[in-house]
Amino acid sequence: MSTSPVAVCEDPEVLAGPWLLAGAVDGPGLGAHLARYGETPDTDLDDLLAAVDATGLRGRGGAAFPFATKLRAAAGGSGRPVVVVNLSEGEPASSKDSALARTSPHLVLDGAVATARALGARQVHVVLPGDRPLTTAAVDAAAAERRDRRVRLVRHVAAPRFVAGQSRAVLELMAGRPNLPVTAWTPEAVAGHRSRPTLLSNAETWGHVGRLLHSGPPRGLGTDDEPGTTLLTVRGPDTVTVREVEYGAPMRSVLPAEGESAVLLGGFHGTWATVQDARELRVSVTGLREAGYALGAGLVMAVTECPVRWTQRVVAYLAAQSAGRCGPCLNGLPALATAVSALDDGEGTRRVSDLATLVEGRGACAHPDGTVRLVRSLFASYADEVDRHGAGHCAWARPHVVRRLRSVAS
């Protein structure tokens, strides 16, 4: 089975930030949290909706879905709603949700618990990452410090697998079934856990809700269209840093200082950019989308290996991470991995493109679509390099690059 080209990092360098990570220097305890923020103000549903509408808060798990839309659907559904904090962070390269949970767990829980109260929900389900023991311990410790008579925290541990954090897979886990995606016939905000309206968001999203309730909108941060900040996991060849940046910040201020690197934006389901193009971009969900890139779950990676070779490794890994339940993914991703590998033999460009079309949109979750996005972006940003591989060459194997990397390593 193919393993991930990068290992999970639970202990990244975490830089203090202007908003969510402002309390990162205080330590994770409830005392420090209360000293900085105080008790969470009680909020009713109308005030909460007005606040999230005004800030245009979008989900930070990768899909960037408007939080207010989900909240409205959950509030208008039939049955007592359920709130879910998704901390599974199935993308191995991402560390930002676990970093937030390890430094400011109470901000995340404040957002979820206050929303649960506003919705009349009695349970907040917290889904912990099975392959990140330090994060799990930090959230357990934070939960043990809290008392709430109206809202109960219910703990789950996700499987250590790429697709385990997908929302329907999380609902399956909560129902006691295998932690794998199933077909969603209705949005979970309408009918999710036990057919109740289920408001499921990732940890960073809940952190933003928490900070919003404590402090009001993030004035002076971000742009008019995208107020506030976002967490990023920034990975260089030997470094992992979690930092908070304002929307609209130049990508060049974020990129690790690696001259000869390819830039992967948005992680394994994301998009390649050349370093020249990446330097001209800004940190923006909509801006990157319009330019043909993806911010995904906030990953920015400088990859000093050949992007063709790296894509081959990532697609092989993603094919192995398929839950194996949906035919087009079960059969199509291994075929795609084989076709991407065959690019080195001067074959397969047509086959890659046919398989990408065949796989896309045909599965219970976004795994095939995300894999196709990565492969297509290789052709969009590194078509020359793909051609070079077909002719038996690789520009990234030049001796001076190899030498430079050795000197960095030593």
Binding site: V182, G327, N331, R362, A364
Partner: protein
Amino acid sequence: MSRALRVDWPACKARGLCAELLPEVVTLDEWGYPIVDREVDDELLGLARDAVRMCPRLALRLVDG
């Protein structure tokens, strides 16, 4: 109103009956799984309902398009 045929992918096991009953809408990929490449218009609605009812895996649904 047009309707769309949707596949419950984890349930589908490539039995292929849908493509036999409704070739106008469903073709099969190289592994035998359905490719739904157009919506179901009114004259095909009856056949589409047959395909939904007769799928041995109950893996098809008609939804509003």
